[in-house]
Amino acid sequence: MSDQATDYRRTKRLYWEPSYVPKEAIYPPANYEGIHFKDWDRWDDPFHMSFRQYVEIQAKKDNGFHPARDAFDRYGGTDRMDRRWLEGMKVVYPILFHGEYGALRSNARVSRYAPAPALRAAAFYQSIDELRHSQNHVYQMRMLNKHTDGFNNWAEWKRHHFLLQPAKMLFEDIVACENVFESVMGLNILVEVAYTNLVFVGIPSVGVLNGDLAGASELLTTQSDETRHMAIGQSTLRTLLEGDDRNLPLIQYWLDKWFWLLHRIIGCPLGVIPDYFARRKALPMRQMFQRYIVDNFVAGMVEDLGKFGLQPPRFLDAAVAEMEDAPHTLFRTLFQYKHMLFNKMFVPTETDMEFFGEHYPHWEERHGAFWEEVRAGDPKDLPSLPMLCQVCQLPCVFPVPEAPTIRCSEWNGEVRWFCSDGCQWIFEHEPERYSKAVGLDRVLTGKDVPEIRAHMRLSGKLGGVLEEC
């Protein structure tokens, strides 16, 4: 029987130097401009996957996961999911889909255009993995859609709803990267090495506490593929830094940039899931962030690659500080827009507030008054969308709406606003790239609430308050 190593060598053999067209016509150097490496053929894929091995392993995984999901559905599992958790999943799954579909398209490009044959081969498998992940998330939404409103038009919401514009921006930005190595940095390193453990291991563990066994199973089977993707990123990063020290400044910039974007667009919003939508809680988000992002990812990266000059992310301290408030700020901002959402919101209970008091010492001082006013009868509903950051498309409300860090730049005669130093810094480095987006707050100027809902494809009684929480 032909062995795995032999199959892998066969795949590497398949790349050839063209002679009927210039090599640059098939592999335009623009796809890796600014990156230096002597011998791309020396690049190695740590997994050496062959096709036959791939389908065998993946078929086994699917044979484990899908029957479990079917059984969960058939035997009333969804009915036993906590209602709050279910509302949170209405937000989470379209965001995850954005990520996976973007990763699928991004890896199609890496696998086609990366200058190293081994990286092309590895990215090819990642691209098909991301199809699996995309469709597994759709399987979940398909199942949950049968039992509750708030999933049925998710594909339109991911295109048009303000809540999902940040994820749309993030993953389209990864797809649109000019340099394939930047997309590897953004996706494989920051999304996958830094965040997938938090998303696909940390969050499911909370999901299980709240009756979401199918979701936990789905996210864990997704994570089983991520090991390969992380390895692609880590080996790429190490090889580029080891291979030529001229790569360091660009890689450092990408690390600084994508760390901030991931913190802002995934880390901050995700915090509402374990801290709020999880009635039964485990670790607070700030501790999950500390564990998975700071202690595992950043410390591990510095230990491994610091010798090549790579520094911790520029805005690390700002991100850590923000985690004191980000989940609370975002949850109450969403509460103010509950009449424009596809999921339902709720008022934190006494139990929730005890948890916050224990884990977020400043919660009462910074966020307590808002909820007192709500309990006193103020619905807090707002008539129009908030100022959205030009880069991340999130509301400019951080760290707290009462005193947000709003930054301003003028570019090409237009005033642009940013939620943070990080987003402004990114914009000022790449203004052409990040000036294209027009925030939905500007698109929907002058519209009333029904018109805003119509634009965002919200029908019927979507949104509002969960009747029992």
Partner: protein, 87 residues
């Protein structure tokens, strides 16, 4: 005209509003505070957040030198007292 408005210390994020250029700063301040559901009892000063410039209450918005999408901010304090350094 299109300008954002926010009020310091208020839980409402900055909102994009469409005032008339001939509205005075004073008039728009009242409208903005109402729209933003801000505490009207506290003294505030209106500033152009981009420039940091304090706005006289009798100047019209059209005369105040706003660019489209500028931020009209009602900071806490009395006239002549520096607002918070956010810009």
């Amino acid at each position: 005209m299109l300008i954002y408005a926010r009020a310091e210390g208020c839980s409402t994020p900055a909102l994009l509003m469409t005032p008339e250029p001939d509205w005075s700063v004073k008039m728009f301040s009242r409208i903005a505070l109402s729209t933003l559901r801000a505490d009207k009892s506290r003294p505030r000063v209106a500033i152009n957040r981009r420039t940091g410039e304090e706005l006289a209450s009798d100047v019209t918005l059209g005369e105040a030198g706003f660019l489209p999408y500028d931020l009209f901010e009602l900071v806490l304090g009395v006239r002549g007292v520096p607002g918070d350094d956010g810009a």
